[in-house]
Amino acid sequence: MRSLFLITPLTLIGLAAACSTSDAGPQTTPGTGGTCDVRAALAAGRCTSCHAPPSPAGRLDLTLDAKALGAALLDAPSTTTACAGRRLVDSRDAEASVLLTVVDHGLRAKGQACALTMAPGTPTNVDGLGPGDLACLTSWVKDLVAGKGGEPFEPVPLPSALSKLKLLVHGGALTEAELSAATADSGAIRGLVDGWTRSPEFAPKLRTFLSTALQQDSVGAAKESLGFPTAHFTPSDAIRDAIARSFVDTAMQIVSSGAPFTEVVTTHRRSLTTAELVLLGYSDQTSDQIASTKYKVRIVAPAKKNGVSATLKKVDNVWELGGAADAQQLSDGCRVESGKGPIPDPQTLGSEQFLSLLFGRVRCHGGPATSDLKYPAPVSPADHADARAVTLETSAGTALDFKDLAALRALPSGATVRVRFPRPGFFGTSVFLDNWPTNQDNSFRVTLGQTLAVGLGATFSIGDPTPASTEGIDTAHASPESPCYGCHRRLDPMRPFFANGMDPSYRASSAPPKPATFSFFGASRTGSTADDLALAIVEHPRFATAWVLRICGWATSRACSDAEPYVADLAKGFRESNWDFRKLVVDTLSSPLVTGLSGTPLSVRPEVSIARRRHLCAALTVRLGSLVEASGVCSKARDALARGIPDDAFARGQVDLVQTSTPGMFHAAGLERLCVALAPAAVAARFPSNDADTSTTKLVEELMGLPKNHPRHDAAIAALRTHLSEVVAAGGTQDESMQSAFVAACTSPDVSGAGL
């Protein structure tokens, strides 16, 4: 046995042989009531061949005496990929203990286990612990957990659960009717959630979820992978916004139309602006083409005023750039290439400089790199805002010429665009590839890892029992003797899914194709293209579970585990609905998994979280109206006040969302500033100080979301009215008193938190 605490690539060598059988070892007599010798059983199973000092595999020393071992294992979390969220010895349910499920084939057959077997590399444990040793280990675990079931499940109060659900999918304040309906019949909760997800308010919530869950938020350098390796040139925020928005538009359409959610992995549809079509056309060249192609460029007058797009047209094999803001400066003193000396006319540019020129970057002659001149680019602001739905195909459609702006602008909605290699789903997008740049050494491993993390909610594990291919393993990078081999034996054979279409610069590849093999947590498939990888993902038994867990994590602000109750049923329902994602959201959110209204001994205790930026801003926008947008506090600007509130994110190699859930002094400070900034406009527009009773009632019911039948309703109104008097007594004006009451309501945990 190995790596119960974690999967570490160390000491993989020979584990299968070393840890696999007790046939040769001494047998112990299975005991009952803890009378058997667990150390002897583990030793007999040869588990301690690896899990022993001085360097116990997985840092798990199974040679400890039984008492110390029990203390180390009891309710300790497994940090393995395959067993995330489970406990090594689970005091809530002994048979859920990872210590048992990794070695007990019987438990695995019951569906209790995570996809981790000991010894590594063996699909079953038929060669594992002998029956006597296994009985001893089972007995010891059961004795260990006896009477230690932990705290009883504490259900969440109904109003708290309902407020949180509405915050998540709608953002609005809970109403009296909604609370009454759920109080009268808890079965009404599902109907309420269903209704909220059919409202217009659901769309922005879904959009932010999909953008992060599909890793389409733009966090990359927006440099080399987009085609801009040029130093000191940062593509505009418009490009970032466009590439981040592109596939989310498509995913939103998939969900809203009720199409199978599997299409977010397989679809060839995109919503692309002209600017993105330029970048797509550029990256559809091979790296050799990009390196060898030169462009003659001449900067021509006349000058036009700022804000007017430059023009670019080809005249006698020379590209003429005109209409720049300061064409005189451009023609007199600037050139695209660095270096000194006379400026030739026309200049000869490489591909990268030419692309930069299209987007408005020219380096001034003789000056430092930072003297780049920005000017209205041929790719105009309108080209960043003219998204239309197109289909990318490798065998048909209009070929892209990235230089032909007029033709790209003219591409109609519904057009088919011909590209040289498949770019299916979320993992073929410009923003995804920009977020996860690869290189010759990495050779698409990061791309694959992130693709599987999104699609299947899992990463590579040496304990994965799926038989792996021996073809395509980069033995120079990870020889069978190296510690890396455990994961590379699955990872490397998958690389051709990407490498057959593109090179590590994410440009078209001209290399001959190689066979690709997918073997991952119980499913195997061969193929050669990114489309084949997409099919492997959506046909994988884990696809449904992954998205249940992702919604659960988003809603509960924690990593959810497939060991938890209700997860399997939800995944089954997702499959049977023909992958109806909106229904999955409704089912998952109205399940006890998220509501916390009830639970089993294996349920995770519901926690209260801060309302992260996306939820807070959505709630304020829905509850306060247009004044929020007008204030700019929730804008995308780098100095927007909401930036002080943590938001959901993703990270390299992380399957779960990165979420800050606990309040702290910086969260409190950010919240205070945001609410203070909103107060004058909010009071003026929604909560007039000259009608204090009505305004305080509205603050409680419409902003805090406490309807008349909520247990805190009356206390909140009384407290706010008292507050008005106290502020006036302290020297404040009537308006200031209402503004301060607004800030109190706005910063209250009912607005700034989720689950109170």
């Binding site: 974690l6 180390a72 300790a76 940090t79 890892g449 800050t660 909140a716 301060s740 109170l756």
Partner: protein, 447 residues
């Protein structure tokens, strides 16, 4: 509401978590100390804050660190491949003389007298293993010796009480995320942090205490009969508001110096080194000054993921700049009178290869942790030795630091030894270090 209930509530709150924040601020003792007297064993000697630089990309700092270039052939190849500014020189450190990249030799003597280096391995092969490295490759245990914890979080948890910090969790200023008891802690860039405070206080700020009182009244029912999770959240919220109100104005004043826009403002700074690193240093020192957190994590580029660093130009730039920034940490701590209570260290995902792939590949076998602070004795522990794939950390003696094939700190144990040494340097009691992370401590690097 009964007029006395507010007073009663506050009294209750003062005995609960919310009031603890106020008491903590008043007494200088942490809320953990106030509730549990001593959460863990008292540190022996003065505990220190920790500023920990970390970089997921895995920097080539190890390649030219003191002790890495002892092999003549390796040194010759290093000098031939690297720009003149970072070629090797002789560096006197703690009574020994070491070959090291030239920038290390430019550090002031006072800093060199408190600067130690541990050659160790992280065992990480890939960038996504950064969180695992922060957990000392999953060897760092939780407070009870069970589960896992990140190194900065373990140090923070052990020292928050005795340092009297406002929060127990690390404060994250850099890009690399940190978990505390498995939960992500808030990450704020210096400018985002600055944006939370400052500006002319409006009239509404004068009524903040009244708002606190109002919210106490609104949530009295939760305090009385909410679920355990709800009560915990409410306590935490109350405490956070008090902390923010107490420190906001002070932080606003001190953070007025950022963003640094002119590198000349920092003497000797290398052109083109990211100015954000300076902002992080200045912010980290400010957070130490106000005892916000026991551990502040920052991101200092030292060459980065150098697969395509032609002629090692980036490495040269960032090695010079990074060492200068370390000096800036030292200088700013001294200016604030904090050099005696603050330790600095660096931990990245891995080092780079010294030979293989021209020095541009990940090296799970070798990484160097530099550290300086009041309890650090200058010197070098360990050294690289040629391994199967590239140079890797050799075994060394924990008492002398000398690389020695029979040393008690084997290559496999070297990471834990480096982490333990840092914990001890920060003042974590030995018995607590043993609970968290069994192994050897490099006593040769400790005062």
């Amino acid at each position: 509401m009964n007029p006395t209930s507010r007073r009663n509530f506050l009294r209750t709150a003062l005995l609960g978590c919310g009031g603890l924040a106020l008491r903590s601020l008043a007494t200088g003792l942490s809320s953990e100390f106030l509730t549990e007297r001593v959460a863990h064993a008292e540190p022996s000697g003065t505990p220190t804050f920790l500023i920990l630089a970390t970089d997921q990309s895995g920097d080539p700092l190890n390649v030219g660190a003191p002790g890495s270039l002892a092999d003549a052939g390796l040194r010759a190849r290093y000098d031939a491949a690297h720009p003149a500014e970072v070629r090797s020189t002789k560096l006197s450190l703690g009574g020994g003389v070491y070959d090291a990249a030239a920038p290390w030799g430019a550090l002031p003597p006072a800093l060199l007298s408190r600067l130690g280096f541990v050659h160790h391995r992280t065992s990480a092969e890939t960038h996504p293993e950064h969180p695992k490295v922060m957990r000392v490759f999953d060897a760092m245990r939780g407070a009870t010796g069970n589960g896992v914890e990140m190194l900065p979080s373990a140090i923070a948890a052990e020292l928050a009480a005795s340092l009297g910090t406002i929060q127990r969790e690390p404060m994250v200023l850099g890009e690399e995320r940190v978990t505390y008891e498995s939960r992500f802690v808030e990450q704020l860039s210096p400018m985002e942090l600055k944006g939370l405070f400052g500006g002319a206080p409006g009239r509404l700020s004068g009524f903040a205490k009244l708002r606190d009182k109002t919210l106490d009244a609104v949530y009295a029912d939760v305090k009385a009969s909410g679920t355990k999770a709800q009560r915990a959240y409410l306590d935490r919220t109350v405490a956070s508001r008090a902390q923010a109100a107490e420190l906001g104005d002070k932080l606003a004043v001190d953070l007025g110096v950022i963003p640094v826009t002119d590198p000349k403002a920092v003497s000797g700074l290398v052109d083109d080194y990211p100015l954000d690193a300076i902002d992080q240093v200045l912010t980290a020192v400010t957070l130490v000054k106000y005892k916000v957190s026991p551990v502040i994590t920052i991101h200092l580029p030292f060459g980065g993921d150098n697969h395509h660093d032609l002629d090692f130009a980036q490495e040269s730039l960032e090695l010079q700049g990074g060492v200068r920034i370390m000096q800036l940490v030292w200088e700013k701590l001294a200016e604030a009178g904090l050099e005696g209570v603050t330790t600095f260290a660096m931990l990245n995902t891995f080092g780079r290869t010294l030979d293989t792939s021209g020095g541009r590949a990940h090296n799970s076998g070798h990484h160097v942790m530099p550290m300086f602070g009041p309890k650090i004795r200058a010197g070098v522990a360990g050294a690289p030795q040629r391994g199967a794939h590239d140079w890797e950390a050799a075994a060394f003696s924990s008492t002398t630091g000398r690389a020695d094939g029979s040393g008690d700190v084997t290559s496999e144990k070297s990471f834990a030894a480096a982490a333990r040494t840092l914990m001890r340097a920060c003042g974590v009691p030995a018995e607590r270090v043993d609970v968290r992370l069994p192994g050897a401590t490099v006593t040769s690097l400790l005062v």
